[in-house]
């Protein structure tokens, strides 16, 4: 039987899935539209631990796509996301950092993560984390979101894998005044990232089971 990562897919019950992922840690770099929605999806499925990093506070403008509530405006995103996740699944451990990430902090804070999710808004920050992880932590899978502004055009949103780098998004729509990031498309990409994380964690588990036989 072929256990290649690309082709092998095991069927599992939700209980079996939870048993595996409750021991896994995922780093969330940015708690905006991508990070907040991706983290919530992983929390619902039963991830063991999330390490959430964001330097920002919630504004009213964020509520068009980010997993926060009106009364949380003004709160720090990393902590507010931790609060919201615990309302959904109190079994998840959330380690929240209000921090602006740089290469040194990424390596230090995310060093024990099974997977890292890139959830920044600025392209420069996306470049910084991708270069940092590829160069310093090449064994850690990195799941990025690139291109999700505007609305409609579902078919343009795609997924690709380049070694340990996974890219979700349309790869082309840059945010602009007349092309804002909105809940539906940002949510699709955020959930595609969460889905990728789950696939990586469950495949890795199945491969380990196979190799240890």
């Amino acid at each position: 039987m072929c256990f290649d990562h690309k082709y092998y897919r095991e069927e599992m019950t939700f209980k079996e899935i939870k048993t595996i992922i409750k021991n896994k840690t995922v780093g969330i770099a940015g708690a905006g539209g991508l990070g907040s929605n991706c983290a919530v999806a992983l929390a619902r499925v039963g991830i063991g631990k999330l390490i959430v990093c964001d330097f920002d506070v919630i504004t009213r403008d964020n509520l068009n796509r980010q997993y926060y509530f009106f009364e949380q405006v003004g709160q720090k995103k990393a902590f507010a996301l931790g609060d919201n996740i615990l309302f959904i699944n109190p079994n998840v451990t959330v380690e929240a950092h209000t921090v602006k990430l740089n290469p040194e902090k990424i390596i230090r804070i995310f060093k024990d993560c099974d997977v890292i999710v890139e959830a920044f808004d600025q392209a420069e920050m996306k470049q910084m984390i991708i270069e940092t992880v590829l160069e310093n932590m090449p064994e850690t899978p990195l799941v990025t979101g690139i291109g999700m502004a505007g609305w409609g055009d579902n078919a343009s949103i795609v997924w690709k894998k380049i070694d340990n780098l996974y890219i979700c998004g349309d790869g082309k729509t840059e945010i602009a005044e007349n092309c804002p990031p909105l809940a539906p498309r940002v949510g699709i990409v955020a959930h595609m990232q969460a889905n990728t994380v789950l696939e990586i964690l469950l495949n890795k588990h199945m491969n380990n089971e196979y190799h240890s036989q």
Partner: protein, 67 residues
């Protein structure tokens, strides 16, 4: 020479080309890129000096804002 560029086979009509020249030749105009050759990250500052070889597998990823 023959290369793989973003998972597609490509033939380039020269034997000597740097990664930056390839990017210019392909008209990749996005300002921010991630570049890899045969799985290895090539940093921005090295693109002008690193030579592409026949059979290289090259990935050029555009980065755009939004999240």
């Amino acid at each position: 020479m023959n290369i793989i560029l973003n998972n597609n086979p490509e033939t380039i009509e020269t034997d000597r080309i740097t990664l930056q020249e390839l990017i210019d030749h392909k008209n990749y105009t996005f300002k921010l890129l991630i570049t890899k050759i045969n799985g290895q990250l090539v940093k921005r500052e090295d693109r002008k000096t690193i030579q592409i070889k026949d059979g290289d597998n090259i990935a050029v990823i555009h980065l755009i804002s939004g999240g």
